[in-house]
Amino acid sequence: MSQDLLPGTLYMMVLRTLAAGPLHGYAIAKRIKDASRGDLAIEDGSLYPALNRMLVKGWLKAEWGTSENNRRARFYRLTPDGRKQLEQEAGDFDRLIKSIQLVMKSA
C-alpha cells in the first residue's frame, strides 16, 4: 500500500474489508493483498498510520481480542460513521473510475 495507490483509496479498501466484520491489522493487510491477487504493492508498515487516522476520524473502533491462534490481537470494526463513509467513497470512486474509463476509451 504505497504511492502506487490513488490517494484515499487505502481508506476505502480498509473500510470495505471491515464491512464484513471486525478484523485485526494483519488480517486486513492479508485480505487486501489476496483480493488484489498480489497486484497491489503494499508496504505493511503504512497500514497502521492509516488505521489510526481512521480511529481519530471516528470511522473505526479498536478493541483487544483473541486471534484464531489464541494470541492477543487488536481488532478493528466499522462504526456507523465508517459505514456511511464507505458508501460515500465507494460511490465517488465508481463515478471517478467510470469517467476515467470513458476518457481513456474515447481518446
Partner: protein
C-alpha cells in the same frame, strides 16, 4: 470536528499505553506473517527476515501512526518554545535586559491596575449598586461645590419624590467617646460615628450579621456597631445584641441593636458606630436648622434612570425654596451614582497614573523591539539558513514571535513579583482616606489582565522586528556575510524610530513629573502666616456627658445642646497651666490645629446692614473661636487695635478680631477697629471689632488669603446646635510654643493636663510642622509616583539609545577602520558616529515636547502656581533629557576612537 479534537485530547492522557499497544500490535503482525511464510516452507530465520522486510521501516510507521493522533501546531509550538529557550540562553545579556525592561513596564502596570481594579472597577458590595444614588445640593454659582441639606428638606424630598424606592439620610461627621458599660471593660475610646435613617440601610440592601434593623418609628433606641468594633470591643461574641454601650452621646447607655457586616462602610472607612435617626428625632429640635448636615442617599425604583430621577427632584426644588427661601434659593440638586461618590476624589489621579504606566510599558516595548532588531542582525545568517532549508516565512515569524512571547511572559512574571512587593508597600504606607483599601490585591482579574498584557506587549514588540527580520534577500545576506557589513540598513533605521519613540515618551512623563515638582516647590514657598517651628499641638476632647447640663439631650441625639459653663473655665485652666510648664514659651487654645484642619465658615453682616438675597456668599469668612495668647503663640502679627484680654468673656462686651484681608475687603477706606458686625450662626448680639491681625493661609493651596474672624471662646453662647457644639466646644486643641525641641516636652504637657483634671485624655500629639507637611501629602505622593515612573522611562530610553549606538559602532567597525587607515581625524570619526544618535535624540525631544504640550493638560488640576505649559519646566526637563541622551550616545561612540584599523581590517 469537535469529536475529533476530543479523541485527540483523550490520546494525550494515555500516550505510554498507546506506545505499548502499538508495539504489541506490530509484533503480532510481523509474527503472524512470519508464521505464514514458515508454513509455506521457509526457514524460520528467513521467514522472520522477509516479514520484517515486507513491513518496511518500523520507525517511520510508528512516527506516522503517532502523528495521526497529535495536534500539529502544539508540537510545533513546543519545538518553537524549546528553540526560543535555547536561543535566549545563548545571548543572556540580551535576554536579561529585555526581561528587566518588560518587568518594569508590566510590573508598574499591574501595580496601578490592581489599584484601579479595586477602587474604580469593582462595584460596591451592595446589591444592584447601579440603582444607588447620592443627592447633592449645589450652591448658586458654585458648580464645583457639593453640600448636603437639612432635615426638613430631606423629609420633603423623601415624602414627595416618585423615583426612589428608598431615600435615606446620613450625617457623616461626628465622633463620640465610646466604652463598654460592663465592669472591668477597657477605658473609653474615641470612635467615629454616623447618624442615619433606617431608609438608608434598607435602600442599601444591607442586612445586619446580628440583630435586625429598627423599624424607624421611634420606639427603638440604640446603636448599630460595625463588624470591626464588634470584634475589637467584644471579641465577636454572639450575645452582644442588647448589651449596653456607654457613649458620651447620651446620659444613659445605649443598647446595641445590630452588627453590620464586615466591609460595610458608608463614605467613611473609619466609622465604627451608627445611631438611628427616627422620624421623631428628625422633626424635633433643629428640624428647620439651615445647617446642611445630612447627606442623602437613595435607591432608585427599578427602571428609573438617573435623568428621570434628576428631573423628578428638580420639580420638587420650588417647594424646598418655598419652605426655606433663605437657605435654598438659587441652589440646585445634582444626582450622582453612589460609586462615583466613593471614588470621586481618587478617580482622576488613578487614571493619570494608569496612563503614565502605560507610557512606561510602551517605552519598554519599543526598547525590547530595538533590542530584538539588534539581536536579529546577529542572527541574520542563522535565519537565512533556515529559510534556505525550507522554513516558510510564516514559520520563521512564528518562531520569532514565540521568542517574544517567552520574553514577555518571563518579564511579566518578574513584573508580577515587583508589583506584589509594591502593593505590600503601598498598603502599609497607604495614604489616609484611600477608599476600599481592603479590596486591593492580586486577584484573578488582575492576574488575567497581566497575562493579557504580557501577550499583547509580546505581539507589539515582536511583530515589527519579526516581519522585518524575516524578509532578508538571501543573496544580500550571504554577500554581506562575505564582506562584513557597513552602514546600517532598514533594521537600523527602524531601530532609530523605536529610540525616537522612547525618548519622546520619556520626555512626556518627565515633563509631567517636572510640572508636579515645580508646583510642589512653589507650594513649599508659600508663607502660611504663622511661624510653624517648635509648635506642638494636642487635643483634649471633653466628653459631653460630663459637661452637659443634665436633662437637656434627647435620647438618640437630638439637636439642641446646653453646655455647662465649666467648659470655658476648664479649658482656660488647662491653657494657663500649660504655659507654666518649664520650656514652654506660651500656650494657646483653638478648635483645630493651625494648618491642620478644615476652616469653618461663618456668615456675617455689618451691623444694621441687610444683605441682599443671593449675596450672602460674599459675606462669609473663616471663623476661629480661640483662647488667650493665640496670636502671640502662633506669631501672627497684630496690625491694628488690641489683642483679646481676659476680660473678654461672657460678662464683657462682645468683641471680635479680623484678618488684614478681611479689613481690606470690607473696610477698604475706613478703620475697621470700632466697627460692629453681626454673626449669623450664633444668634448673639453684634460684636465690636477690636483688632486686626495678619493673614493666615490655613490651606496652602489657597491662592489668596481668605477673610478671617476670630472670636473669644469664652464669649460663645452655651446653647447651640449639637453638631456645632461637638465640633467647636468639646474639641479643644492646645497649641504650645516651646523653647527647644517640642517632642521632649510631650510627657510634661500630658502631666500638666492631668494636674488640672485627671479624667481628661490627651490625643493627637503632633507638631504643627507635621500638619503643614500633611497638607501637601497628596501632592507629594503624586510627585513621588510620577517621578518614579519618569525615572524608569528615562532609564529605559537611555538603555535603548546606548544599545543602539553601541550596536552601530560594532556594526561599522570595518568602515571606521578604513576611514582611520585613510587618515580621518578622530573628531570626524566621533562626529560621524554621534550624528545618528543626535538625529534620533533631537527628533525624540521635538516630538516629546509637542506631545507634552497636549498631554500635560490632564494634570492641570493638580498643578499649583504653574500652567500646564510652563516654559521654564519644559525647557529644564528638555535640556536635562538632552544632556542624559548625549551622554548615552557619547560613551559608546567614543569606543569608535579606540578601534585599531589594522585589527579592524584583518578581522574580515
Amino acid at each position: 470536528m469537535l469529536r475529533e479534537i476530543v479523541r485527540r485530547l483523550g490520546h494525550l492522557g494515555r500516550t505510554s499505553q498507546f506506545e505499548r499497544e502499538l508495539d504489541e500490535e506490530i509484533r503480532f503482525h510481523i509474527e503472524a506473517r512470519a508464521g505464514e511464510l514458515e508454513r509455506s516452507g521457509l526457514r524460520r530465520a528467513d521467514a522472520e527476515a522477509q516479514a520484517r522486510r515486507e513491513f518496511g521501516s518500523r520507525a517511520r510507521s510508528n512516527e506516522d501512526t503517532r502523528s495521526a493522533w497529535q495536534f500539529r501546531w502544539i508540537e510545533e509550538a513546543g519545538a518553537d518554545l524549546r528553540y526560543a529557550v535555547r536561543s535566549l540562553r545563548r545571548s543572556p545579556a540580551f535576554a536579561l535586559t529585555a526581561i528587566a525592561c518588560l518587568a518594569l513596564g508590566i510590573g508598574a502596570n499591574v501595580l496601578i491596575f490592581s489599584l484601579v481594579d479595586a477602587v474604580l472597577l469593582r462595584s460596591l458590595s451592595f446589591p444592584e449598586p447601579d440603582r444607588l444614588v447620592t443627592i447633592w445640593f449645589i450652591p448658586p454659582n458654585q458648580s464645583g461645590q457639593k453640600a448636603g441639606t437639612n432635615a426638613l428638606a430631606y423629609v420633603t424630598l423623601r415624602d414627595h419624590n416618585r423615583s426612589f424606592e428608598y431615600l435615606g439620610a446620613a450625617r457623616l461627621d461626628a465622633a463620640f467617646n465610646v466604652g463598654d458599660d460592663s465592669p472591668g471593660a477597657a477605658p473609653p475610646e474615641r470612635i467615629r460615628a454616623q447618624w442615619f435613617t433606617v431608609d438608608l440601610v434598607r435602600g442599601l440592601g444591607v442586612n445586619p450579621v446580628l440583630g435586625r434593623w429598627p423599624n424607624g418609628r421611634g420606639e427603638d433606641s440604640g446603636v448599630v456597631i460595625s463588624y470591626g468594633l464588634w470584634q475589637h470591643l467584644f471579641g465577636g461574641a454572639t450575645d452582644v445584641i442588647g448589651k449596653q454601650l456607654r457613649t458620651d452621646l447620651t446620659q444613659t447607655p445605649l443598647a446595641i441593636l445590630d452588627v453590620t457586616p464586615a466591609g460595610f462602610e458608608l463614605l467613611n472607612p473609619d466609622a465604627g458606630l451608627w445611631v438611628f435617626q427616627s422620624d421623631q428625632n428628625l422633626r424635633s429640635g433643629a428640624y428647620r436648622s439651615s445647617n446642611r448636615i445630612f447627606t442623602l442617599i437613595g435607591r432608585l425604583k427599578p427602571g428609573v434612570t438617573l435623568d428621570q430621577a434628576q428631573a423628578d427632584l428638580n420639580s420638587l426644588m420650588p417647594s424646598l425654596v418655598q419652605e426655606m427661601p433663605d437657605m435654598n434659593r438659587g441652589w440646585s440638586i445634582r444626582l450622582e451614582k453612589l460609586h462615583d461618590t466613593y471614588v470621586g476624589q481618587i478617580r482622576k489621579p488613578l487614571m493619570i497614573f494608569q496612563g503614565a504606566v502605560f507610557l512606561v510599558l510602551l517605552i519598554a516595548c519599543a526598547n525590547v523591539a530595538g533590542l530584538q532588531l539588534a539581536q536579529a542582525s546577529l542572527r541574520q545568517k542563522e535565519l537565512s539558513m533556515r529559510a534556505a532549508l525550507g522554513s516558510s516565512r510564516g514559520r520563521i515569524i512564528r518562531q520569532l514571535l514565540t521568542e517574544s512571547a517567552l520574553l514577555s511572559v518571563l518579564g511579566g512574571g518578574v513584573g508580577l513579583a515587583l508589583a506584589w512587593g509594591g502593593l505590600r508597600l503601598f498598603v502599609n504606607l497607604s495614604p489616609g482616606g484611600f477608599p476600599r483599601l481592603g479590596a486591593i490585591g492580586l486577584n484573578p482579574t488582575v492576574l488575567g489582565s497581566t497575562l493579557l498584557l504580557c501577550l499583547i506587549s509580546g505581539v507589539v514588540f515582536g511583530t515589527v522586528p519579526a516581519i522585518q527580520i524575516s524578509r532578508p534577500d538571501l543573496m544580500d545576506v550571504l554577500r554581506e556575510a562575505a564582506r562584513g557589513s557597513t552602514a546600517g540598513g532598514t533594521p537600523e533605521k527602524l531601530r532609530g524610530v523605536f529610540v525616537v519613540a522612547q525618548v519622546s515618551l520619556a520626555l512626556v512623563l518627565l515633563v509631567g513629573a517636572g510640572l508636579l515638582v515645580h508646583s510642589w516647590l512653589r507650594l513649599n514657598m508659600v508663607q502660611p502666616g504663622i511661624d510653624p517651628r517648635r509648635l506642638i499641638t494636642f487635643q483634649v476632647p471633653f466628653p459631653r456627658s460630663l459637661y452637659n447640663a443634665s436633662g437637656s439631650s434627647t435620647p438618640a441625639g437630638g439637636f439642641q445642646a446646653d453646655l455647662n459653663p465649666r467648659i470655658h473655665l476648664l479649658s482656660e485652666q488647662i491653657r494657663a497651666r500649660l504655659a507654666l510648664v518649664p520650656g514652654v514659651e506660651s500656650a494657646a487654645l483653638a478648635v483645630t490645629p493651625p494648618l491642620g484642619g478644615v476652616p469653618r465658615r461663618m456668615d456675617f453682616q455689618k451691623e444694621g446692614q441687610v444683605v441682599a438675597p443671593g449675596q450672602q456668599d460674599n459675606w462669609s469668612a473663616e471663623w476661629y473661636p480661640i483662647g488667650l495668647d493665640y496670636f502671640r503663640t502662633l506669631r501672627i502679627p497684630l496690625l491694628a487695635g488690641r489683642d483679646f484680654r481676659p476680660e473678654d468673656k461672657d460678662t464683657g462686651a462682645p468683641v471680635v478680631m479680623i484678618s488684614s484681608a478681611m479689613a481690606q475687603q470690607y473696610w477698604p477706606h475706613e478703620n475697621p477697629v470700632g466697627q460692629r458686625i453681626q454673626m449669623n450662626l450664633l444668634y448673639d448680639p453684634p460684636r465690636e471689632i477690636v483688632g486686626v491681625v495678619g493673614d493666615v493661609r490655613q490651606d496652602r493651596y489657597q491662592h489668596d488669603p481668605q477673610p478671617q474672624l476670630y472670636v473669644p471662646r469664652a464669649q460663645l453662647p452655651l446653647k447651640m446646635d449639637l453638631a456645632l457644639s461637638q465640633a467647636i466646644m468639646l474639641t479643644n486643641t492646645f497649641i504650645v510654643r516651646t523653647k527647644a525641641d517640642p517632642a521632649q516636652l510631650a510627657s510634661a504637657l500630658r502631666s500638666a493636663v492631668a494636674e488640672v483634671d485627671r479624667t481628661q485624655a490627651v490625643t493627637n500629639v503632633r507638631t504643627v510642622e507635621e500638619y503643614a507637611g500633611g497638607q501637601l501629602q497628596d501632592l507629594r505622593e503624586y510627585v513621588a509616583l510620577l517621578s518614579v515612573f519618569g525615572g524608569i522611562s528615562v532609564a529605559l530610553a537611555v538603555i535603548g539609545l546606548f544599545g543602539m549606538m553601541a550596536h552601530a559602532v560594532s556594526q561599522r567597525t570595518n568602515e571606521i577602520g578604513i576611514r582611520m587607515a585613510l587618515g580621518a581625524p578622530p573628531a570626524t570619526v566621533l562626529g560621524l558616529m554621534l550624528r545618528q544618535g543626535l538625529v534620533v535624540t533631537a527628533a525624540g525631544l521635538v516630538i516629546g515636547l509637542g506631545a507634552s504640550l497636549i498631554l500635560t493638560r490632564v494634570i492641570q488640576s493638580f498643578l499649583w502656581g504653574v500652567t500646564a505649559t510652563d516654559p521654564l519646566t519644559f525647557a529644564l526637563v528638555g535640556c536635562g533629557l538632552a544632556v542624559i541622551a548625549l551622554l548615552a550616545c557619547y560613551l559608546p561612540a567614543r569606543r569608535a576612537l579606540h578601534i585599531d584599523p589594522v585589527i579592524a581590517l584583518r578581522s574580515e
